[in-house]
Amino acid sequence: MQLSNLLDKIKLLTLSIVILLSGCDKIFEFSPYEANVKEECKNTTAKNLHLIKDIQIDSDTFKFAFVTDNHYHYDNLKTVIEDINKKPDVLFVIFGGDIADQALLKEYEIFYDIMKNLNKPYLTVIGNHDYNSNGEIVYKQMLGDYNYSFEFNQNKFIIFDDIVWESNKKPDFEWLSTQLTDNNKYKQVFVIAHIPPFSDQFDGNMEQTYKSLMQENNVSLSIHGHIHIYSFRNVYNDNVSYLTVPWLKKPTYCIINVHNKTFDIELIEL
């Protein structure tokens, strides 16, 4: 009798714990290094590319936002997302990498949950931090390809993985070059990569290759994060502009206003 009473108590306790925890994503977690991305969070890039395809505009002019280097500044990410939500003329968001800091699945999940509140599509490029631990696998599962491109309103956007040290591979310049060959079909070409070519991780050869590819293929703007500060200039005195956007240690981001053959940049500091 005593034993069955006690078993009832244990059952009740277990049940209440399970109910208490049912708000979380997983009741049981086995390791911070796990990479078992939930089914509903998979293929985010592909889903968002579909959403972008469905956006119809009847003007040459449009805006997109560039947010980057979250690491663990989730509150500032939320603030920025809320601000972008209030701007209907910003049609989509590109996130410039360093989604995570240690690249744990949990960090990716917190990011994903915050981005769910964005009322427009978003795309991402992988950052160096995102490759740590099992981040490479988590990124692939949750977001998708490291290199991809899309077209919007006769403009081409190329998303390029240029991480060297953490990825243990050289950037795939051959792929980038192939993507750039049809540049004359578009009004403008935008290349987005986490690390700017003039920063660490790029040796002289790589910098030269990147610079030449941009120069020779009429790229209007090369957009980056990684160095955590704002800079916008013609680094190599050619026709290519290089933009680096500050990290989210403060709630800051950029809006790129795309016109017919030109663009301008707005730095938003909240």
Binding site: V18, C24, H73, K106, I137, W165
Partner: protein
């Protein structure tokens, strides 16, 4: 985030508690290394299944365990995850019932992971201080255990069933420094200790 300090504190506590191991074993007149119990745990961020041995120190005020935890690739969706964990459990309040004793427990563990792109020493390709080690994580937990002594058996002298709610240092730091729903960072573990 001051993970390093936290880990150092944990290690210091471990060394401190081990230093007293000889005292308690002297009383028992058993070899100092003979564990007091064996443990098996499911989940808790130290493995899918973790197996270990445990020692009771300071008149059972601290239970220290060394565990090996394993997550098979089929569950981790990456490589197999191998984790070595030093776990310290502190019984807070005991309540004796007729045949069993229930105890509120709390504690922490320090885990070392081998493989899965984790490192202790920063690989040479990085400039100094580019990253901190990512091979260690601490976990913190609170839970309950039910203990029953067996008086009529020779090998197994008692058994514990326990359950804990816990989190990882990194997650806890994020939940404290950012507005993150605390339910997002906690998860459940269950385990059994067998005393001999």
């Amino acid at each position: 985030m001051n993970n390093k300090g936290l880990i150092n504190l944990c290690i210091a506590l471990l060394v401190f508690s081990s230093a007293f191991a000889q005292d308690s074993t002297l009383v028992k007149k058993e070899p100092w290394y003979r564990p007091d119990y064996a443990t098996i745990q499911f989940a808790g961020n130290i493995g899918f299944i973790s197996l270990g041995i445990g020692y009771q120190f300071f008149n059972n005020r601290i239970n220290s365990e060394i565990l090996y935890g394993f997550v098979p690739a089929s569950i981790s969706k990456t490589e197999n995850i191998n984790t070595i964990t030093f776990k310290n459990t502190f019984p807070v309040i005991n309540k004796k019932h007729k045949i069993i004793t229930t105890t509120l427990i709390t504690g922490f563990a320090v885990s070392y992971e081998t493989g899965n792109n984790s490192f202790v020493k920063l690989p040479d390709k990085y400039p100094d201080d580019y990253y901190r080690t990512n091979a260690f994580h601490s976990t913190f937990f609170i839970g309950a255990k039910a203990h029953k002594d067996f008086t009529d058996t020779i090998i197994i002298k008692g058994i514990d069933f326990y359950s804990e709610i816990g989190t990882v240092d990194t997650y806890l730091w994020y939940a404290m420094s950012q507005k993150i729903n605390p339910t997002k960072i906690f998860s459940l573990s269950v385990g059994v200790n067998l005393y001999f």
